[in-house]
Amino acid sequence: MAIMSIADAYKSAIREEMQRDKTVYCIGEDEDIPGGMGGAFTVTKGLGEEFGANVAVPGKDGKLEIKGMDDFGKNRVINTPISEILIGGVCVGSAMAGMKPVADLQYGDFLFCMMDQLVNQAAKMCYMSNGQVHVPMVMRAPCGATNRGAQHAQSLESYFIHVPGLKVICPSTAYDAKGMMIAAIRDPNPVIVFEHKLLYGGKRKEAGQLSAMGEVPDGEYTVPFGKAAIRREGKDVTIVANMLMWYKAMQAAEELEKEGISVEIIDPRSLVPFDYDTVLASIKKTGKLMIVHEDHYNGGWGAQLASYVAEHAIMDLDAPIVRLAAPDTPIPFSPKLERFVVPSAERIAEAARKLAKL
């Protein structure tokens, strides 16, 4: 058992899978350039040295020395041009031909640059071919608002839950990060992994980051998709929240506990597949449902969950479903404005308090 950050838990999962399975490889922009960051958030730092990479490093003569270009196929960590369509397509094609790419986007916002490869290609190849081919690829996408302005801030998971053929996960503890990353790499389908920038706990410090250091068992284990985690048990209100938002909900729940309001907190962990049963069982007990995500309100995954609950279990509810989300605006830069749009522990507490009293 070791205590590690989520960034290190991801690294540990990827490294161990690469050691176990020669078809696993990493690909992305700045994936592991010596002296660089290892992706934007240190997850892949050091893997190039262990598994071989195409790199340019300062040589002894003071000039740049290029390595790993002559026998390119020996690299298992590939530093790419800034070409997202290329990265997406190479993942799809190599996966069809028996490899298991683990790609890194630096910032999930760049997923839009490869949207065709994800939605028209990766997601549909198995279906269109009637199962002749399949696409076991992992696309890692850092997400969340972090004082970087509108194009490096989005919570993108809801775009992808609408695409048949893609699995969408959002681990948020070190334990889950390792176990779900291993499961993602072993999954025979395309998996998009949303990684919240404020939860990495990597060496790159972020304003407002939470300490998500956690226990990670030694050796291999997987955390299956489609099984939610009950982060806190309670009896008055059910809050379903993912990534950073369930940590905020935990803070809110501690405050509410003092007021005698007992909150149950569910972290779905994976959005496709989604564990509706755990949510339905919880509202049977509490009769109150609140959904919190950093993603925008309109069409967010919470809308899907709310409609599912209304369709299947409305009689278990004692009050209207409450949804707390980022408003339908781009994410502003000013830290003050960003704090306004991203749901806070205080706002979660306030909304839950109101709901509990209904």
Partner: protein, 326 residues
Amino acid sequence: MAVFPAKEKAIGMYRTMYKIRKYEESIYYLFLEGIMPGTIHQSTGEEASAVGMLYDLRKDDWMASTHRPAGHDIAKGISVKAMMCEMFGAEEGCCGGHGGAMHTGDISVGAMTANAIVGGNLPIAAGAALAFKMQGKDNVVVCFFGDGATNEGSYHETMNAAGLWKLPVVYVCENNQYSANTSIHLTCCKENPAADRAECYGIPSEVVDGNDVLAVNEAATRAIARARRGEGPTILELKTYRHGGHSRNDACGYRPDAEEEEWIGRRDPVKNFRQVILDHGAATEEELAALEAEVEAEIDEAVEYAKNAKLPDDESALKNVFWEEK
């Protein structure tokens, strides 16, 4: 002038070219009859490209096609029966009716699922080529695309990396001179959209008469050998012409008569190669007529079979969204 090959090879190439021609013709008539669903993007007139490129390709090499895939797929080895069944959306279609005219494929013969997003197959072919390289295999990928694809971002992202990483892939531009309805003169800053821009990516290129199957085959042999030796990609630009419209309802009102007369009348790849075979004495008129009758019978049989083939169960629409362990 291309060297005339061994008799057996010449006849084999002609047989496949004729098969593609007759297959596409029968599809066209089935549409006119109104009994075939969907739309069509026909490869009639581009048979020399498909056959010249793929005739010598190994079965375990891969081929990536486009929204106009029938010629490529037949040349790579998918049976006309499986193709025709797919056109009718039948269970025995090469993709079980999940694919359709623009997504045919059969990976057991190296035909990747055809791609109907212009330029979408380019980085995927690069990925498959990268996989072969990483696995230490000597396989290559032949990737077809049209002149229109050379103006997609995916094209430039892919060519840059394919050249840089020396991937074992042959990129084949079937320049039929129109991006759907729009002349290449309105869409590209260069006369040869693929070849003239290849140097930027450090990729050697050739411009080839795409209606001369022997010229295409010679260029293919060079490019495939280079890729197999690990020396990297080649861009071949094959000048060719669609005999029909871009798709089902396109009457080609934008093409000048003289141009059509030149390409369809005088430069028909199937008719011209037939004459070359006769000129070289590789077959007699009677022998070719017999071969043609055989091919026509095969196609007629496929059509009759496909018309009556079992349609898939409705529940099969829900299968293979995710991969199911066989």
